[in-house]
């Protein structure tokens, strides 16, 4: 049945877009070559005040959140039993798979002593008290789970029906893992900051950070589905799945409303609200973040607005920006190591981050053209 639900888009693999993406990735490889020969300082602006730059914040913290579509849609379909969203799962899973895999690889570029990486999994070294330990283990396991969850599409492509049936029979276990693992590490990405104490601005330092990060990861998951569906529809000249995206946007707004109540309530309860009205970079970026979180209510707040795909796209986009800003704000803008330090990413850092995102886009295009991932076009299903 489902083998009719998804279909490869077809077409050429080498297009101007994929070519450009691959060129960007090759540039990133060149920068990484210098980094591995001469050290992190040769290509980054990292310093002892800001030991974490965009390779951590953009590639891992934001990159993995942008890859939460698979988790967020799977929650709707399998946990809240909304079968109608099923066609959205595979494309979301593919984006998650690529996003998480590259986040995992990206970590290795940033680790100063990457050759010791396996220590995290070794009982003699592993330190379960460390939030970083929990994040690393959960992300690693989740990358494996994502590959397994996506594997039916690969088996389907090569006509291995029996193998697929066997795998799918046990899939509920991986769906369960695919729920719990992202909940664990997406919340822990926020918890990473708790031990920083006073070094994080009061607008972002909170014992609710794990909840704030988890809820925005889910929100980013829905937003990225809206965003990707619109971009894929435009890029491949397919009809847009408005009948699915429209109610999805409604679910998203519900979660967003709950998030904003918790976020603002937490700031007020901690007595940090006054710091939002000071004249400084932190307050400015806080309001940017909050405006981005509020704008989706304007673009997709009403049934009439939601019918226009452009609004779905913009609603998703602003929510994405809000989630991204929250992460940049709490890790970099709101991180205050003292007056003598400053950080702005170097060209080399930007090239690597852009190159990794470009690789994800190229891989997404190539895989959706050859593997049954995107929903089969409406008329074909009806036939």
């Amino acid at each position: 049945m489902s083998s009719h639900e998804h279909a490869p888009v077809g077409g050429r693999l080498l297009t101007p877009v994929t070519f450009f993406c691959v060129v960007l990735f090759i540039l990133a490889l060149a920068v990484l070559g210098v980094r591995f020969v001469h050290g992190l300082g040769s290509v980054t602006h990292l310093n002892d005040g800001y030991p974490w730059g965009i390779w951590v914040v953009a590639d891992v913290v934001i990159g993995s959140a942008l890859a939460c579509g698979g988790f967020a849609v799977a929650a709707l379909v399998y946990i809240f039993n909304k079968g109608e969203y099923h066609p959205l799962i595979r494309p979301a899973l593919l984006a998650s798979l690529l996003g998480y895999t590259l986040a995992g690889v990206g970590v290795l570029f940033d680790l100063g002593r990457y050759w010791n990486f396996y220590h995290i999994f070794m009982p003699g070294y592993a330190s379960p008290n460390s939030v970083m330990f929990e994040v690393a283990v959960c992300i690693s396991l989740y990358i494996a789970v994502l590959w397994i969850e996506f594997w039916p599409a690969v088996l389907e492509k090569f006509g291995l029906a029996d193998a697929k049936k066997k795998l799918v029979g046990t899939m509920y276990i991986f769906i369960g893992l695919g729920m719990v693992l992202p909940m664990m590490h997406q919340s822990s990405l926020g918890s990473l900051l708790i031990v920083f104490g006073h070094q994080i601005h009061p607008l972002w330092q909170s014992m609710l950070l794990p909840l704030i990060y988890l809820m925005t990861a889910v929100l980013i998951g829905y937003a990225i589905v809206l965003f990707e569906s619109c971009v894929a529809a435009a890029g491949y000249r397919r009809s847009i799945e408005t009948h699915l995206l429209n109610p999805l946007a409604k679910v998203m707004l519900g979660v967003l409303a709950a998030y904003l109540v918790i976020r603002v309530g937490d700031i007020v309860a901690r007595g940090a609200l006054a710091t939002a009205f000071q004249f400084n970079l932190q307050a400015l970026f806080f309001w940017l973040e909050m405006v981005c979180f509020a704008l989706p209510f304007y673009f997709v707040g009403s049934e009439a607005m939601r019918r226009n795909p452009a609004n779905l796209f913009l609603g998703g986009l602003y929510l994405l920006l809000g989630g991204i800003l929250l992460r940049i704000n709490s890790f970099l803008i709101g991180y205050m190591p003292g007056d003598n330090w400053s950080y702005f990413p170097s060209t080399g850092e930007l090239v690597v981050t852009v190159g990794l995102f470009a690789l994800k886009i190229a891989a997404y295009i190539i895989i959706t053209r050859r593997f049954p991932v995107l929903p089969r076009e409406q008329h074909a299903v009806a036939a």
């Binding site: 489902s2 002892d48 100063g112």
Partner: protein, 328 residues
């Protein structure tokens, strides 16, 4: 169908409530770690420091550290402005106005020592995912093992005193920080900075003894004369000298801050002038670990959540007409 959905909703709601409840349950909270009775440390008395930097040079020599050029006099003098991966100890100066009077804010100046405070409940140890940062259960010295370290620099970012530093200039860079000369202890020696300090501004010893000495000084009347020990307070020999008592700020920095530190400070100018942050008594490590243990203790919640999710997913994918999870 509806009844089933309702049941799942309740299950999920229950799990969510349990998560919240456990996260805030005080039984799960981890208290601050406690000071070991044999803990070793330093007492830095800013009023005794004359800024000679003998300790900076001795630290370099005791730890085999290369020169650190970060001034315009590049290549001529080793004059680090701050601690780095190659400089574990520096003497800094606070200056204000005309900077004419020692240990005064108004037109005054004061010296401060920057090196690892060896927290009783260190953030860096809590942050480290691979036990490269460790706290010795007996001496309380916070040590670093480059062979374990993965170079994630969580310790660099987490330290409230900005002590661990990373060497970004080497492809095999490692963290550098004071380890209280733990490599010299087996030879019967002690921290090089305290050993060479001519005035006893940096004093080595058991933390318990150092605290007694610090409180003795705080109880003295400014202007009176008293004896200042030098070197190793706990094991001697007595190399003390007599000098005047400064008008101390009535606070021993590091006694209570974040659950206490094993290097402590006395000063006659407010501690924030010396660059020391004002800190709560509950350690950040305890806060962070309380949260983590509350959520993940014994893996009870994750396993319960996994069980519930798997069960729900199985039921839902069985009846799923489209079925990817139930892609039959």
């Amino acid at each position: 169908m509806n009844a089933r959905r309702d049941f799942f909703r309740k299950t999920l709601a229950g799990a969510a409530v349990a998560t919240g409840a456990t996260a805030s349950a005080p039984v799960q909270a981890r208290d601050n770690l406690q000071l070991s009775p044999d803990a070793l440390g330093l007492l830095f008395d800013s009023t005794l420091c004359v800024g000679c930097k003998a300790c900076v040079a001795a630290c370099k020599s005791a730890n085999n550290l290369p020169p650190d050029y970060n001034t315009p006099a590049h290549g001529l003098w080793d004059v680090p402005l701050d601690t780095t991966a190659k400089t574990f100890n520096v003497i800094k100066v606070f200056q204000n106005g005309k900077a004419e009077h020692k240990d005064r804010v108004e037109d005054g100046y004061a010296f401060s020592k920057k090196s690892c405070l060896h927290c009783v409940d260190p953030s860096c140890v809590s942050a480290c995912p691979v036990s490269a940062m460790t706290k010795d259960p007996k001496t309380g010295i916070v040590g670093y093992d480059p062979d374990a370290c993965i170079g994630c620099r969580y310790c660099v970012a987490a330290c409230p005193f900005e002590v661990p530093k990373f060497d970004y200039d080497s492809p095999r860079g490692q963290i550098g920080k004071c380890e209280l000369c733990r490599h010299r202890i087996p030879d019967g020696q002690f921290a090089a900075c305290a050993e060479v300090c001519p005035t006893g501004a940096t004093l080595y010893g058991k933390v318990a003894d150092l605290k007694v000495e610090a409180k003795r000084r705080l109880s003295l009347k400014a202007g009176d004369m008293t004896r200042y020990p030098r070197g190793d307070l706990s094991n001697g020999p007595d190399r003390s000298w007599e000098g005047p008592v400064a008008p101390y700020v009535q606070h021993l920095y590091g006694d209570k801050e974040l659950g206490g530190t094993q290097m402590m400070y006395l000063s006659a100018v407010p501690f924030h002038n010396l660059g020391m942050p004002t800190l709560p008594e509950r350690s950040y490590a305890a806060k962070s670990e309380s949260l983590q243990h509350g959520l993940y203790g014994g893996l009870v919640l994750p396993i319960a959540l996994f069980g519930a999710m798997t069960w729900v997913a199985r039921r839902n994918s069985k009846n799923d007409e489209h079925g990817d999870g139930g892609e039959q």
